[in-house]
Amino acid sequence: MNEFLDALTLARWQFGLTTLYHFLFVPLTIGLALLVAILQSAWVATGKVKYLRLTKLYGKIFLINFAMGVVTGIVQEFQFGMNWSNYSRFVGDIFGAPLAMEGLIAFFFEATFIGLWIFGWDRLPKKIHLMTIWFVWIGSAASAYFILAANAFMQNPQGYVLNEERGRAELADIGAVLLNPVAITQFPHTIFASIMFAATVMVAVAAWHLARNQFVDEMRASLRFGLWANILAFLGVGLTGHSLGMVMTETQPMKMAAAEALYANATGADASFSIFSWGTPDGAHEIFSIRIPYLLSFLSDGTFSGTVEGINDLQAEYTEAFCGAGSTLLTCPSDGSFVPIVWVTYWAFRWMIGLGALATLVSVVGLWLTRKHREVPAWAWKVAVWTAPVPMIASLVGWIFTEMGRQPWIVFGVMTTESAVSPGVPGWAVLVSLIVFTIVYGGLAVVEFKLIVKAAQAGPPEVTATSEHGDGNDDDIDHRTLTTVY
């Protein structure tokens, strides 16, 4: 088959691109909803106008971003059926349930209250309006939980039975699906990472204005708030990341081995973590590396004497388990390899940790430099502005690691990715759709970025009497301009 028209390869590229793109907007939505809710609460509690102005500024950035999260989310749902119809029919009985719950319980809730928050400034009493933004945050976080539970089924399937007669996996225990240890650890990890992302954007906006000595009162408040939020969120990311690593070692040892490019089993001091390494192109032989002894053992099971399984041993183990007599493409990949692309997992794992730590280092230094009555050096503002995309990239490579590290499986141990693709969709159709999404998404990314920068640079808007709230039954609303309209 023509390599450029291979539906499987193209469908994988499309899933990767559209999912990473979707995930540019989702964490900023989740993180900013929380930070904006806190700012608005501060305004309602203290009555200080600076908090209201900050709510409006970051609320505007939140909204520009939110629309993109919604419309790119529809693509995520649809492409399971469009490109991965074999997957959809094989696991839909289980995988569909958390998606439907997400819609019914979380997404309706979030979408309704976001409309009320945006357009409710003129119409709702103060406290009810404050409640709506908190509901938006609760809805977005709940939404994330159900999606991560669905993803956790792909990483660590549990709560299902195979129905030979129907040729599919069926739900056995919804509790096991929703309380999957991968979901339970992945959820706080993702939420904390989202808060880091949003906090870094907040710090960057504040630094840009402070470097120009404008809106000093508001921007100092938002700078310190953002720096603290970033550091606290990083602590959460680190702790939950450690739990996630241990769960991953237990449920998907191949992913952990691939994260470290560990080919043979290693115990204790030998289970070292390399910060940097240089090897042969296939990664199987090492030429040079900087290593920390015991660290991999600690990351894997929390002790300094653990044994970490290597790629070669796992490959042999899986070949016996999944490629025996009578096995099909469902569990045995056509090339017989159970090893993910090791250079991708190895470097993605390091960039994720490294960039997350870098953003927090910037925050710690920032807190020190901006303490009271200090002259802040000009370079510090520049560093803060340029740090804005760092946690975002860390989040993206984190997902590249999670998803690429699962390969060749779409559902670990149950279904291979190559058996999941739609049987009736020709490669050229997937290529057309990949090209269309790339063009549309690319164009929108440029517009979105410019609008966010413009909104950020405009600074906190002036607030007038009309930005105060209505009493819920205001008849004068017919005779004045509204503060919030499209």
Binding site: V91, M101, T112, I114, F119, G167, E170, G424, L482, Y486
Partner: protein, 346 residues
């Protein structure tokens, strides 16, 4: 009643919710270049749906997810089979959605012009293609069972374009257009309100012609069904509702005209679901290959769980969405739109 039938009805209800609610959003988008004489007019028109378009579109996402959970085979076969049509719908929905948010963030006729075009085409394409797709489901598409289980669509995009399905697409498009015009009349004040009402009468009459043709054709095709009343009754009710909506609109009873228009859309979809029952997709290759509701459904356990979730959440969802419509019940007029854009926005 079998749980599989219950879920056929729930998914049907969610789809009706989607087309009744997002239907007027589509109509409002289509009306934008026709009714919006200047930028302030166009902003009034967009703001009639400002607070609600997003939650209305969520009905599609929820209907899609429930369809996936309850009928994985249907979801897999239809979504992979109608591939390019769905791609067009997705692009249209993406461009329409971001345009509402982006349009007022920039300045100048060129900037707003782009987003006005996105809103117009993004509102026109989805109902046309959804209508075409649904008409195809009952008219029959080339699907056949796979050896490993499930079905596969063996046609192309062109297979989906036939006179019957295109008439179905045109009917859904026009129903949404009329629905949006009546909604604008209901939600605005002054000159736009009068013009929306007048245009709704004209488009309503065109809709009546298309809908009558589609409904009669559908009824004729299904007279030989086991239970033809499942098609005849909703088709007749759809026709009566549409005539009532047009008459009420002529008499300037905007609220009632809107209600009957919503009923028309609901009955038109019920006609389609009635014609589909007891199948989810009809095969044009061989009637024996048609996809039965029970054969495409999830396990009893999944359906039971989903039933509990739906029973507890849907009343709550309806309650808070009704509250939203109550909060934003006031009419919008030119006086509400800040003259200096976009300083006051957000």
């Amino acid at each position: 009643m079998e749980l599989t039938t219950v879920w056929f009805l729930i998914v049907g209800a969610l789809l009706i919710g989607y087309f009744v609610l997002d239907g007027f959003d589509f109509g409002v988008g289509m009306a934008l270049p026709l009714l919006g004489k200047d930028d302030t007019d166009r902003r009034v028109i967009i703001n009639t749906i400002g607070p609600v378009w997003d939650l209305n579109e969520t009905w599609l996402i929820v209907a899609g997810a429930c369809l996936f959970a309850a009928f994985p085979e249907w979801y897999a076969t239809m979504f992979s089979g109608f591939y390019l049509a769905l791609l067009l719908i997705l692009v249209a929905l993406i461009l329409r959605g971001v345009s509402f948010e982006y349009r007022h963030q920039g300045k100048g006729a060129q900037w707003t012009g782009w987003f006005d075009r996105f809103i117009f085409w993004g509102s026109l394409v989805p109902p046309l293609l959804w209508g075409t797709a649904f008409a195809n489901l009952i008219h029959g598409v080339p699907i056949e069972p796979l050896e490993m289980g499930g079905w596969v669509y063996t046609g192309t995009l062109l297979t989906l374009l036939n006179p019957y399905s295109l008439l179905g697409g045109a009917t859904v498009l026009l129903l949404c257009f009329t629905h949006g015009l009546v909604f604008i009349a209901l939600k605005t004040e002054g000159d736009i309100r009068v013009r929306a009402r007048a245009l709704a009468t004209k488009i309503g009459l065109v809709t009546l012609v298309a809908a009558a043709g589609f409904l009669v054709w559908t009824v004729l095709e299904h007279l030989g069904d086991e239970n033809p009343l499942l098609v005849i009754v909703p088709a007749a009710l759809a026709a009566v509702s549409l005539v009532s909506a047009i008459v009420l609109n002529l008499r300037a009873r905007e609220g009632w005209a809107f209600t009957f228009n919503a009923l028309t859309i609901a009955f038109a979809l019920l006609t389609i679901f009635g014609a589909l029952f007891p199948h989810l997709m009809v095969s044009s290759t061989d009637p024996a290959y048609s996809m039965p509701i029970a054969g495409a459904a999830s396990s009893q356990k999944t359906l039971e769980l989903m039933t509990w979730v739906a029973v507890f959440t849907l009343p709550l969802v309806l309650a808070y969405q009704a509250w939203t419509y109550w909060v934003f019940r006031k009419r919008i007029s030119r006086t509400h739109i800040p003259s200096e854009e976009p300083a006051g926005a957000h």
